[in-house]
């Protein structure tokens, strides 16, 4: 698919938004203004952006504990997200979910998830709905290399394969599961290999290269929409920060990490390419940077001023039909 100027500019805005959003979170945590378990997506922005640009609202995506990028790329309102992280009534989940549970079904976001691997069957079920109700929709499951060792991964991919469901399994291989390097726990070089256990299509993308991700995601999503079944798409990327905000990273060799961060930053690579190819100008980029910065600043201000939930909210929304 030919990428238009608007698509490329939109992709930059999304990546920049994710990056600036999380830079702000780290700042807020450091200043003691924000609490809770936060897992940042920094370094992996090209994956969510390249995949979600091919999804529409009625398409669904299931996310992980590292969900900010997926949510923003899927169109969840950043103001609501920030309010949620501040635990405010105006938050996406009225302050009840927090970072690991941001969800917005109207935007097709099935939710960040605190249980590793849990999003995989959820997206599979969303694909079943699309198939049975003939909505023409597709579902995407984002998950990590570590999650590919969960039983839910195996069971879900097998189910999607035999039912030929319109789903794309995007494994974000960022080299680490918490404090453990992927190669310690995954005996195969490419997780994409595992698609063969289900006679499923697969592909490998350079997760730091937005253009490669979006191209391979477009193929996989098109295959799903055509009714030709699921795909396992492995995106090779890297977790720039610690596992969670506050992680001292003592267990991680610095040199290797620095190499990734300095030479393979997806946003840096994107900028170099679009400027070299003259698809975008420095003006474009600076304009977007300015918009994003202002948007986040406003969102933070609004969130900080928003009301907290009250004790009356504690028992609200446990059931749709309380007795």
């Amino acid at each position: 698919m030919e990428l238009t100027y608007e698509m490329i500019l939109g992709a930059y805005r999304t990546m920049r938004m994710i990056r600036s959003f999380e830079e702000k979170l780290i700042e807020l945590v450091t200043l003691g203004k924000m609490s809770g378990f936060l897992h940042v997506y920094m370094g992996e922005e090209a994956v969510a952006t390249g995949v979600c640009m091919h999804l529409k609202d009625p398409d669904y995506a299931a996310s992980t504990h590292r969900g900010h990028g997926h949510c923003i790329a899927k169109g969840v309102d950043v103001r609501g997200m920030l309010a949620e992280l501040f635990g405010r009534q105006t938050g996406t989940c009225k302050g009840k979910g927090g970072s690991m549970h941001i969800a917005d079904l109207e935007k097709g976001m099935l939710g960040a998830n605190g249980i590793v691997g849990a999003g995989i069957p959820l997206a599979t079920g969303a694909a079943l709905t699309a198939k049975l109700k003939k909505t023409g929709g597709v579902a995407v499951a984002f998950f990590g290399d570590g999650a590919s060792n969960q039983g839910a991964f195996h069971e879900s991919l097998n189910l999607a394969a035999i039912w030929k469901l319109p789903v794309v399994y995007v494994v974000e291989n960022n080299g680490w599961g918490e404090f453990t390097p992927t190669e310690f726990v995954v005996p195969v070089k490419d997780i994409a290999e595992r698609a063969k256990s289900y006679a499923m299509a697969s592909a490998i993308a350079d997760g730091m290269d937005f253009f490669d991700v979006q191209a391979k995601a477009a193929d996989a999503i098109a295959r799903a929409r055509r009714g030709d079944g699921p795909t396992l798409l492995e995106c090779k990327t890297y977790r720039f920060a610690g596992h969670y905000v506050g992680d001292g990273l003592a267990y991680r060799p610095k040199a290797a990490a620095d190499a990734w961060i300095q030479e393979r930053d997806p946003i840096r690579l994107f900028i170099d390419r679009v400027l070299a190819e003259k698809t975008l100008t420095t003006d474009d980029l600076e304009r977007v940077d300015g918009e994003v910065t202002r948007h986040i600043a406003d969102a933070v201000k609004a969130a900080e001023e928003a009301p907290e939930p009250t004790v009356d909210d504690l028992l609200r929304d446990v059931y749709a039909e309380p007795r």
């Binding site: 299931a62 109700k133 189910l159 039909e321």
Partner: protein, 333 residues
């Protein structure tokens, strides 16, 4: 005159009505079709106990056999439920919840709350519970106390075919995730089942016998145990109320306190093991909100605190009996 059919048939009837009245209702599970639509024209099994027989022929695209992958079965059902379908999952035996608890515990039960009220999870999980068929320790458990204890889930259990049909229809149409337990001890018993489409409200217990001297509170198969005990007690002039909980969560506290108010004496009969049980909750309710109504201790007649044994003799000793209920009542008089 009243039509009597086995509980298993009544369940099949409820499923057919639910599917006829709502195109979003689908059945998922292991061998819920089990043949029937196959090119080779074999007949279908309709589930391990035949409960869903006939449905795949009527709804070929909406009765889905799954691999033996309960985590994907439950997890995908939750995903389907929040995106527009109304799945009815068959978890063959509740004992298997050990391989698929997360989609219930951390997903279905919590979505609505975690997402600030923005999700609906119209999921029904049908599952066979209880002992009595010498199916031994891993196919005979009454684990409804686990789903009962999880906020966000509802759990119901019928004691007869008519309620089984109405509760299942109510569960399927409920916008909350509901676990519907099907006790082995009633599946093949026949009782009166109204024709057509009706619902038994979730959360309402039913007084199935009027006594006044003592209250016997049962659920599922133990309602029949209580009724048998009540009939024997009657002969000694002891008149027993028998309350059928029907819904384990929500628990009909009002109905329990009402019968306790009449009798001042209560025995709760639960086929599950005693620790962290529905029986304990009923007793705890009595000693809290019902304290002033109590004239005697509250007795719990439950399974012993051990796995379900295979041996016929031991299994018989394991299952709460009318005799044990009568002995418990004697202690209160």
């Amino acid at each position: 005159m009243a039509r009597e059919i086995p509980t298993a048939f009544a369940i099949g009837e409820a499923l057919r009505i639910a599917m006829e009245t709502d195109p979003d209702v689908i059945l998922m599970g292991e061998d819920v079709a089990g043949g029937g639509t196959r090119p080779d024209g074999t007949d279908e099994a309709g589930g391990i106990l035949g409960t869903t027989r006939g449905l795949v022929k009527q709804f070929p695209d909406r009765v889905l056999d799954t691999p033996i992958s309960e985590m994907a079965l439950l997890g995908s059902a939750v995903g389907a439920a929040v995106t527009g379908l109304r799945p009815v999952v068959e978890l063959m035996f509740m004992d298997f919840i050990g391989v698929c608890l997360d989609p219930l515990l951390n997903q279905a039960a919590k979505f609505r709350y975690m997402f600030g009220g923005k999700a609906r999870v119209p999921l029904t999980v049908r599952t066979v519970t209880g002992a009595g068929m010498q199916a031994a320790a891993q196919h005979s458990q009454s684990l409804y106390w686990i789903t009962t204890g999880i906020p966000g889930l509802k759990t119901v259990i019928a004691s007869n075919a008519g309620d089984a049909k109405g509760l299942l229809l109510a569960a399927i149409r409920c916008d909350d995730p509901v676990v519907v337990c099907e006790p082995k001890s009633i599946l093949f018993l026949s009782s009166e089942v109204p024709e057509g489409d009706y619902e038994v409200p979730i959360g309402k217990a039913k007084l199935v016998r009027e006594g006044g001297d003592v209250s016997l509170v049962g659920m599922g198969g133990t309602v029949n145990t209580a009724l048998q005990a009540a009939m024997q007690l009657e002969q000694d002039g002891v008149h027993a109320d028998v309350l059928d909980l029907r819904s384990l969560q929500p628990l009909d506290e009002e109905a329990i306190l009402t019968t306790l108010g009449k009798t001042g004496r209560l025995v709760v009969i639960d086929e599950a093991t005693p620790r962290c049980s529905v029986a304990s909750d009923v007793a705890a309710l009595c000693v809290d909100k019902g304290f002033d109504l109590l004239n005697a201790p509250v007795k719990r007649v439950t399974a012993p605190f051990c796995p379900v044994p295979f041996s016929r003799v031991l299994e018989e000793a394991y299952i709460p009996s009318p005799q044990r209920v009568i002995e418990a009542v004697r202690e209160l008089l």
